[in-house]
Assembly symmetry: C2
Homo-oligomer: 349 residues x 2
Amino acid sequence: MTSQTGLQVPVPPALDRCRSLVEPALTTAVRSLHPLPRLMTSFSLGWCDADGRPTTAPGGKGIRQALAVLGTEAVGAPGDLAVPAAVAVELVHTFSLVHDDIMDGDERRRHQESAWKAFGTGPAVLTGDALFALAVSTLAGAGGDHSGAAVRHLAEAMGELVHGQADDLVFESRPWTGPDAVGIPEYQAMAARKTGALLGCSAALGPVLAGAPPLLVGALSEAGRQLGLAFQAVDDLLGIWGDPAATGKPVHSDLRRRKKTLPVLAAMALDPAAARHLVGLLDSGIAVDADDAYHAAAIVEEAGGREFALEDARRHVASARECLRAVPLAERAADELVEIAEYLLDRRL
Amino acid sequence: MTSQTGLQVPVPPALDRCRSLVEPALTTAVRSLHPLPRLMTSFSLGWCDADGRPTTAPGGKGIRQALAVLGTEAVGAPGDLAVPAAVAVELVHTFSLVHDDIMDGDERRRHQESAWKAFGTGPAVLTGDALFALAVSTLAGAGGDHSGAAVRHLAEAMGELVHGQADDLVFESRPWTGPDAVGIPEYQAMAARKTGALLGCSAALGPVLAGAPPLLVGALSEAGRQLGLAFQAVDDLLGIWGDPAATGKPVHSDLRRRKKTLPVLAAMALDPAAARHLVGLLDSGIAVDADDAYHAAAIVEEAGGREFALEDARRHVASARECLRAVPLAERAADELVEIAEYLLDRRL
């Protein structure tokens, strides 16, 4: 997949700066775990291979920790203050990847085996649990006057995230057409929970910890949530048209897995003839092979599903930008948040 | 298995009283979940069958909620104040049962299928996660001056619980004999984490929420932890000699599953000849059949493993009693806590 805009947006330098700020505390937190979940967490973060040997595997982009730090700087507080919040959201993110891969049966993650595939389902369940507990205790132990409010904020986001994952699980067994089919608004509500809640929480959690006024917390939270919706739409695009060399997943992978994603649902809503074709290809009861998936991708594109999802992502990034511009935030940090939003829209990986 | 003392200790009335106090809030909390984890939680709590029809299945004993309420009354605060703490610890307990059954491959729980067996592994992972998040947000939302401290307390207990479960998982692949064998002190440290931490937290969490002095919180926490160690020892006894009609598990079930439990480890430590026999029966590389398990149970008993575990449970109950008597607590609640301890020691189920 070429870049969404045709231009290649460079990696925002803020990502590296925030990573350097947060990494020591994240490393210390992970070191406090029992050896088994510690190894599995280091593996999941791309720090080592399954035998514990240091690797140079590409870890996550560190979007969530960056939002935590930049959100805090945006309300005029020092970025250091956000570190426990940044660690907590990265841990919750890693928890959700480890458990989601079990639920979805995904065998690959970031160009290596997923945690359950490499270590077994039981240890992967355990590792997610350990990360969840560690996230809460890291934040609860942050001290200051506002750590109680911050924990409340994080717990709500975790509840939403799990709710979104439950929606997604239930969508799998829903029909493609008819009155029980998954509609676009319902899909968006799922994405807002599954992906938006934690990104919204990431941007707002440092400010909550810093005792920022509710107006600013609300704007950052909503900006993060909009970014999450854009992120999900781009993920859905990459799940169909992403370059396997970049995504580490087979071509048309979401179609082969019959996933109900935004481009497909949009194509079906926009074009009844395409819907009939797609149901024939994706819902035939037999495996979706490479040819069928290739064919389905072409139908989705022709019916406008690809353009719909791309436009949806652009619209959410624009909304995020508006949220950030509507309230008085420190200019540099707000600009860096916008840069990250544009980078996410443009990412190839 | 007949009652441990030969006498039948009646069910303490405090359990029912505390259940009545906590159940409305627990029900409200569970109702706030997404329909899928809500159904699975109601099923796991024994409130309904897998299709959602109300049942009269025996749910849990409600020990943890009772400790939360009685601990709070023991420090002179009203039991109502403990309700969010009681709900949180019952939710964490249910979370741990749902996830532990996945990790241990247990297909039965409380005379019905375990959650993963009835609904699938993915939904069971999800349900545990939902319960974990709900526990934290219930407690974080309790309000008052001390909910931050209470969340910190709960998060630490959750971390310990997961650490203990990790120990237990790792024990499975450790040898029965030699320098890497699991020793009794190591086993006890695991049990203190896996079972003791949440019972200690249960007894202390309401008092923390009520702002009780650290001396009282510490005594209640330690009493709960000792109770947890007793509880684990009794569980280990029931896992070998429990009446299948009462436990809902096959006779000698832990031996058939080659579980490293206290009676077996004690027998091996006490009697080298028994150890050699037991290794031959339990570590032969082929399945442990009913005859081998019967034989192994007899060897464990003869070598003194059964008596050792029973004595261990008694000692921990005595320690719990001492903790409660060493500090000034409200007499009635302290008496009720002791009654629960004696009931747990004596339980047949």
